[in-house]
Each structure stands twice: as structure tokens, then as C-alpha cells.
Symmetry: C2
Subunit: 129 residues, 2 copies
Amino acid sequence: MTQEALREDVTDECGHDGADSSAPRDTLVQIKENFVDESTTIDMAEMFKALGDPTRVRIIYALLQKELCVHDVCIVLDMTQSAVSHQLRYLRNTRIVKRRKVGKTVFYSLDDRHVEEIFAQTLQHLKHG
Amino acid sequence: MTQEALREDVTDECGHDGADSSAPRDTLVQIKENFVDESTTIDMAEMFKALGDPTRVRIIYALLQKELCVHDVCIVLDMTQSAVSHQLRYLRNTRIVKRRKVGKTVFYSLDDRHVEEIFAQTLQHLKHG
DNA sequence: ATAATATATGAGCATGTGTTCATGTGTTAT
DNA sequence: ATAACACATGAACACATGCTCATATATTAT
């Protein structure tokens, strides 16, 4: 995040004269430049989207307690094997869970220590509200 | 999050004795009961869903740096006023941002200190991957 | 070999989401 | 009063999402 003075031009696509913007133009430009790169922004949104479903939240809560095979997740959540498998694939593609195969059963567990922290922070947010 | 001692029968992991699940039944029941209540699960998912969109992530990044009026958010994100207003309402309903009215302009800012922490954690998750 | 078990996956469908467009509401200026 | 400005919002549309159903793959048992 560079903090230098930037004098780039801001396109006034809004058709306004620019005087009605409450913050000075340079400030807005700087806010724009302080963004993380766009790919990271998209990655963050995809990460949150992966956590943004009740079924997946419940799966993560279960796996926070113990590594589980697919069948056991089905029992804990009381859902069909297909539905659970689809969601586990989603979480796997997002690198939130990992799998370990033993014979014909596949065990799933959390792939990231940060998820627990994120959950804790979010619970605090909900309490405060 | 309570990490109760889940001591149960010795795990006959992948013990495919022709029975249903690999983990003992009582363990699964306990995992089920250790869940936060369902309404909280849903609230968490809704919170993450609110963060799970690139536009809303960018809005939050902007507001992390400075309180902004709607028009300025439009400039920073290069989006229409309607699209921005819709997303701001979404974030307001989720208690992620709050507004402050001054004359005819409305200033938005983050309503929660935890959001910054959640973002930091998520960024770390993405780096590690 | 066949059968049984455990998981994965593509197709289809109902529902949800994010944007645009048009319009509404509230405030300030003339 | 009228006009301009800043923001909010409902409708509509294209697209995404989460489930079910049927089926495929992989491993183990007989």
C-alpha cells in the first residue's frame, strides 16, 4: 500500500462537475490506489461466499470438532449424501477443507487454522449487534 | 467454542464392520449437540454472504480507509449510483455499515470493528494457500 | 467374475442474486 | 413555487446457487 501523492485523473462518468463530491479528488484517487489488487478482492469475496451458506457453516462447525467421513457428515447434518458431497467439493475447491482417503472412505477435515479465528470473530460481531 | 473432551470408545476408524458410520454413534450425537443454535448458524451464514460479493468487498475496503458519501463510493468503485445504493442497503441491513445524514448527502462508515479483523484473517488465509 | 459399499458428479429445476432502468423521496437553492 | 441535487427503491432481467435424481467411479467382499 503505497502512500505517495498521486495525481492521476479521475473520469467523471457521472456527468457532474466534480464540485459536489464531498471528499477532495486526490483523496478518492488515493483510496482507489490503496485497494488490494482486484484478483485478491475477488478471492476474498469467493472465500466469504464459500462460508455464506447455512449448510456449509454447519459442515465447518462439525469438522471443527473432529475429522469426519462423508457418511458421518450426512448423519450429523441429516442430509443426503449427494447434497453433502456437493458442498464438500465446494469447500475443497476453496481450500477450506482437505480430504484423506482410507480404503473406500474419505475423511474430511479443515485445511486452514484461520477459519476457526474467522468464525470466532464473526460470532463476536453477532453478539455485539 | 467449547472443546469438550470427546472421549468415547476407541475409534475403530474406518471400521467397516458392515455397520453404518465410521465414528461411534454417541460421538456423532455429541457433535450434533455441540452446534451453536440453528439461528446463530443462519446468522453467521448471512453475515458471510454479505461479505461474499466483490462489489461489497470493495465498498468495505473503501470504508475501511475513510467515511464516504454515496457519490464518492460511486466514483471510487466506478459504478452507478443505483447499484451502489442497493449494495449499501444490503450492508446496512446486515449491520456492517451505518449511515450519517448531513443535509442531502449521506455518509457511510463501518459499523463494526470486527470486520477489519475478519478481513485480516481472510487475507492471511489466502496468502497461506 | 458379481455384489455391496462409499463417494463423486452431471443434469435439471426451483429459488436467489446483482445489475439496470425508471421513478420516488427528501433537501437545498433560486 | 420550481428546479437541481443526493440518495433510495421497486420491477425486471440474466445469471448463479443448492438441492434432488440418476448414474459413474473406486474399493472391498464373496
